[in-house]
Amino acid sequence: MVKPASPPLAGFACLVLAHDNPAQLLLLLRWLGEHGATCHLHLDPRAVAVRAAVEQAALPGVALLPAAQSFRIAWGGFDMVRATLALLRAALAQPGVTQLCLLSGTHLPLLPAPALAERLGDGANHLDLRFACMEPPDRESLHRFWFRGVPGRQQTQPLVRWLNRHAWRLGPRNLARGLHGLTPMVGSQWWHLTAPAARAMLTFLNANPWYEAFFRHARIPDESFFHTLLGATPHAAALGPPMSFQCMRGYSPAVLTPAALPAARASGAAFARKFDQATQPEAVRLTLAAGAPTHVG
């Protein structure tokens, strides 16, 4: 008797953070589920309609974090890290997980599932990982670690902008002492980790509660918390190209149009964002058609 082949994304646990656009989110969840990935989903407790839509869809392989265990996420706040950690712990509690991908609800795959599995299954951790000190000083550089930050979108909230601009008056934090000698690292929020790397990171966190305490006051910690942590483990030696593509417009990623898709594919990334079926349905259709056809509305 021939043993049925396992789906290409078997062993993949996708951690998905979302708060709106349920139609777009369901497209991603369906695609991942059809190819054998399990999804652990965090929804902001305020996203009642999205939660209802996900529960109604009752997709197989999707584990939705209960509202009571979810976090009200402010842009650039530490609750984003808490939500990710909750998903990470839930995913690693399941048997058979070999890879973990952190995605937003507006991500879509750029590759067919077998090619995606091959790209990310090379034993490396695929993320944007950089030394904070080497960032241009006119951007955040080490400032995001030195000075405490108030969460919120600076470009639209003048008070947040004013507070963060004047945080230096409180004086810089002692990074060597605060980070216990770890080197500050940064990168894009979205990552792919191998299960051994993710387990090593959780083991470190469980043994060192000071680490979370330090990052509670760092600016935009979702772009530094996991990066600094991975950088401190031997798993940083196995580093692959970043797994996510996005096209920034100002402080936010732009919704991808069909014209932006060649650049996304040329990037070599496995996933891209932001997709929006409501405003750019053709980009969504083309992206999914290039992979495996699924339920495009």
């Binding site: 030394f131 000190c133 080497m134 550089s141 080490l142 060597a176 002492r177 980070l179 216990h180 080197t183």
Partner: protein
């Protein structure tokens, strides 16, 4: 003219991690005495001292009677647990710590800036008075507060950043250049150091 080669940042990270071995030498109570500190005009030595303080702070060490770290200036102290750093003229009884320069503990904590122009020639002797006018204005008998020391180190960083590369006769100068993202012109001493670590 080709730019001086730069050290791979991950190599700097690996060297920094080797300094973690210090915690095994400190003992349970983590009390440390630092002796033989460099004179103020030895800015490279001041960076070494700053790196060592960073490292000890990161390891939760406190000043006190415990392990002794001697930074190579003045008389070799008589201490029951003597750690030498670096190790010039080691007495036979001394315990040398086989670790890289503690200045490496500052890796990742000093901002890089876009490269400046030209080559900064560090002095043949570790005396930065010709490079930093502030040092010339400080009377040698005056106790220097920590704030002034920090200002001196900040000025030294600005000086290195203002150049594209550094000609460093000593390994410490090349380490400072590497940590600030600048290449350095190799000498036998600096090449030997980087090959060792």
């Amino acid at each position: 003219m080709t730019a001086a080669p730069q050290v791979d940042p991950w190599q700097l990270e690996r060297i920094k991690r080797r300094l973690d071995a210090l915690q095994h030498w400190l003992g349970e109570d983590r009390r440390v005495r630092i002796l033989g500190t460099p004179p103020l005009e030895d800015i490279e030595g001041q960076f070494r001292l700053a790196g060592l303080r960073c490292l000890l702070g990161a390891l939760g060490a406190r000043p006190g009677q415990g392990a002794t770290i001697w930074l190579g200036h003045g008389e070799v102290p008589v201490a029951p647990n003597l750690l030498l750093w670096p190790a010039p003229g080691l007495p036979a009884s001394a315990t040398a710590l086989p670790l890289p320069d503690p200045m490496h503990a500052l890796w990742g904590l000093l901002e890089h800036h876009p490269p400046g122009n030209g080559t900064l020639h560090l002095p043949a002797q570790p005396d930065w008075r010709p490079l930093l006018p502030l040092l010339q204005r400080l009377p040698p008998w005056l106790p220097v507060p920590a704030r002034v020391r920090r200002a001196l180190l900040a000025r030294a960083q600005r000086l290195v950043r203002a150049h594209a590369e550094v000609a460093a006769p000593r390994p410490a100068g090349s380490i400072l250049a590497a940590m600030l993202g600048r290449g350095f012109l190799p000498t036998p001493a600096t090449e030997a150091y980087w090959q060792q670590w």
